[in-house]
């Protein structure tokens, strides 16, 4: 036995040594971008749609990391002065927060693309939009006899009894609560900025509180539906669509009163390969390139001129498809930048009651 160990070790030594050496040499010799994204099917889609083609075109390879989308990790990197990542995907509200905290750099759009080419609200100071997704309602067609017609049906426990799942955060839920309470879509954020409006939203949520199961990760809603833990759930449209297309689940998406949001990519302060990072951002802003993601996960492009390049069969599944845009709300980043922390605290206090 001992001999086996020894021979294995001897055989492994050169491998180990070379591994150690390459890890020292690599950053200097080959051009490599380190990107941190939120993982799962979405990151796999980013890889196939953008990272791999970019590497093929330019020779700049990607070293991919995963994280949970929380800025704390990047803040810790920036504070200790050791930032091993060059690009990071974030939610819009997180971009604003990271901008304020000095964790993300203010982008030089001259090196990316003309800001006018982006959909409104997707070219922020510290983050570039990469895709459009919808916060929608999803249900299992084999469980619900009657199909819900609007996201707001989640508040109707008479017609649709049983547990329902919502994201454990005030964002979106408060907006939907006000919509369900009769506030016109154009006035949602105006009403929500007043204490009386917040009270009104929580009062509406109170009516279904005991029936809500809360989800936190994007992968949870399809699981909650599949395990029949809930009869309906709010979700990101791509996760449900992939469960329908790839896992052949009998789910359906309700688009009416969806909330449209954007995913963003940003450069953390102190990133070592700044030029390469900009090179990638400029590449991804190309109209044709921007449209590629839809083929792997049904999220729309943020470039206004990219729509003609989106694959036909994908178009009808996007949150931006004309059929899905009858009534919708666009999430207000500035509002959540102002009131986010306060409403999260209020939301937690409300949950605990």
């Amino acid at each position: 036995m001992k001999l086996i160990y020894r021979t294995t070790l001897v055989a492994l030594l050169p491998v180990l040594a070379s591994a150690g050496m390459t890890s020292q040499i690599r950053p200097a010799s080959a051009e490599e971008l380190t990107v941190m994204a939120t993982g799962g099917e979405w990151q796999a889609a980013l890889r196939k749609a953008w990272f791999e083609p970019f590497a093929k075109k330019t020779g700049i390879t990607f070293n991919e990391q995963e994280y949970t989308g929380e800025l704390g990790k990047i803040k810790a990197m920036v504070e200790t002065g050791n930032v091993p990542i060059d690009l990071v995907t974030v939610e819009t509200s997180t971009v604003l927060q990271g901008c304020d905290a000095g964790v993300l750099i203010r982008l030089d759009y001259a090196k990316v693309a003309d800001r006018a080419r982006f959909l409104p609200g997707t070219a922020l100071d510290c983050g570039v939009g990469i895709d459009v997704y919808g916060d929608v309602l999803a249900y299992d067609t084999t469980v619900l006899k009657e199909a819900p017609t609007s996201v707001l049906d989640i508040f109707d426990t008479k017609k649709f009894p049983g547990k329902r799942a919502m994201r454990k955060a005030p964002a979106q839920n408060l907006e939907w609560a006000l919509m369900a309470d009769g506030v016109p879509i154009a006035e949602i954020y105006k009403v929500l900025a007043t204490p009386a409006g917040v009270d009104r939203a929580f009062k509406k949520l109170d009516t279904i509180k005991k029936d809500i199961v809360w989800w936190e990760a994007g992968a949870q809603p399809p699981q909650l539906l599949a395990s029949k833990e809930v009869v309906m759930t709010t979700a990101w449209n791509g996760r449900i669509q992939n469960a329908i297309d790839k896992d052949k689940r009998p789910f359906a998406i309700v688009w009416d009163n969806q909330i449209v949001e954007y995913d963003m990519i940003a450069i953390p302060k102190g990133a070592k390969n700044l030029d390469l990072a900009y090179k990638y951002l400029a590449y991804a802003a190309g109209p044709e390139v921007s449209a590629q993601l839809g083929a792997y996960i049904p999220y729309g492009p943020v470039m206004a001129d990219a729509t003609p390049f989106v694959p036909k069969e994908v178009l009808s599944k996007l949150p931006t498809a004309p059929d899905h845009m009858k009534t919708y709300l666009v999430g207000d980043v500035e509002f959540w930048g102002d009131h986010g922390e306060d409403l999260v605290k209020r939301f937690n206090a409300w949950l605990a009651q």
């Binding site: 905290a101 000095g102 964790v103 922390e341 605290k345």
Partner: protein, 406 residues
């Protein structure tokens, strides 16, 4: 562990040779240094954030100087002029955003108003008091200036008070925050309640089990011990995930209960306190069991028989001879479990419901999501202080010495 064990050794009475007590200390020095650098220093640094928050004072030097003559309410013109100057400087230095975010923590909604004000100060060389209040209505209110005044001190009690749902009122007294914002006292209470429930549940399981283990053949005791320890060696994440499989609505436990006819409907065990306590009890069982088992093994059965032969009833034997001897183990096991429960994070996330989140979940939220490390430090401080307080009380008043347990 060795250094702790050594420092726990009490100096012998009348010991005069100092080198006797210094030598073991010298041996433990590398470990103590490592602990101080890698454990003590970071904790102190992080906790200091709970009381030291210089962002506002750094951002508004002139305003704060001008405010000295204006001690309450909305101040006069000169202070506003100083504020405009400060904001212009901050805007140029790029410090405005962090200031806006910090003020927003104390004054919800202040963020966009500060940024608007900074833009105004950048365009207009001398904005009037009225124009500034128009751009930032909070500056026309007492609470706006209360927040700025309290932020002018680099050392702040804001975060520690918030951890107890308290705040400074506009009148300069300490009051409670509005009921819809009060969350931390309830969460601390919940954390202690769940820790107590889990501790009692593990005790109820561990005590009889340990007793049985001391009274069966060593082979069987060994097998039971391995059964208890096997899951103990598995990652806590895996064990928690396993519980979700068992507890979910269409999971194993519900299937079994229905099949046995014990319930007529599927129980909501997941995302509930019941499920959380079950999962935590399973994870904590070895921590309570092992100290109890180790003391029970040391109890000499001859003493019990002696008591019985002297006429004591079984219950009296248990209460007066057996229980006092195993009590240190019971207390040590319970204390260990209780303290570990106070810091639970992943199990409440995965198994608990929305109203079962413990204080660690809130600390994680402030660190990772809100980027409000000051609040996280304040909550950590309260948690650490109450844990240490509990430990000291237990050792002092109940005569328990964990270190003697070895």
């Amino acid at each position: 562990m060795s250094s702790i064990a050594m420092s726990g050794v009490k100096p012998r009475a009348g010991a005069t040779d100092r080198s006797d007590s210094l030598r073991p200390l010298a041996l433990a020095a590398p470990l103590l240094l490592l602990l101080a650098f890698s454990f003590g220093a970071p904790i102190v640094l992080l906790l200091s954030r709970a009381v030291y928050e210089p962002t506002i004072a750094n951002a508004l030097p002139h305003t704060i100087a001008a405010l000295r003559n204006d001690s309450a309410g909305v101040p006069a013109e000169p202070v506003f002029r100083a504020l405009a100057d400060d904001l212009k400087t901050d805007q140029a230095a790029g410090a405005i955003y962090e200031f806006a975010k910090t003020l927003n923590t104390r004054l919800p909604g202040a963020r966009s108003q500060v940024l608007r004000l900074a833009r105004l100060a950048g365009q207009d060389p001398a904005p009037t008091r009225e124009a500034m209040i128009k751009a930032a209505p909070l500056l026309g209110e007492d609470q706006g200036w209360t927040a700025i005044r309290s932020g002018s001190n680099r050392f702040t009690s804001f975060f520690l008070l918030s951890a107890f749902d308290l705040r400074w009122t506009d009148q300069g007294t300490i009051g409670t925050v509005p009921a819809d914002q009060a969350v931390f006292t309830r969460v601390f209470g919940r954390t202690f309640l769940i820790a107590t429930l889990v501790t009692l549940a593990t005790l109820a399981l561990a005590f009889p089990l340990a007793y049985v283990m001391t009274n069966v053949r060593p082979v069987i005791a060994g097998i039971v011990l391995v059964l208890v320890l096997l899951p103990f060696w598995t990652s806590i994440l895996v064990r928690t995930a396993a519980w979700t499989v068992i507890l979910q609505k269409y999971g194993l436990l519900n299937d079994l209960l229905l099949w046995l006819g014990m319930t007529s409907d599927r129980l909501e065990l997941m995302y509930s306190r019941t499920g959380l306590v079950i999962a935590m009890t399973h994870i904590q069982l070895p921590f309570t069991l092992l100290p109890i088992y180790s003391v029970m093994r040391a109890v000499q059965t001859s003493q019990l028989r002696a008591a019985q032969s002297l006429g004591a009833r079984p219950f009296t034997v248990f209460r007066r001879v057996y229980l006092p001897q195993v009590m240190p183990g019971v207390l040590a096991g319970c204390l260990l479990t209780f303290i570990l429960c106070l810091g639970y994070y992943i199990t409440p996330v995965l198994v608990g419901g929305a109203s079962d989140q413990l204080i660690s979940n809130f600390i994680a939220n402030y660190v990772n999501v809100e980027l409000n490390w000051e609040m996280a430090a304040a909550l950590s401080f309260v948690l650490l202080a109450s844990t240490l307080g509990l430990y000291v009380t237990m050792t002092r008043y109940l005569g328990l010495d964990l270190f003697k347990m070895g």
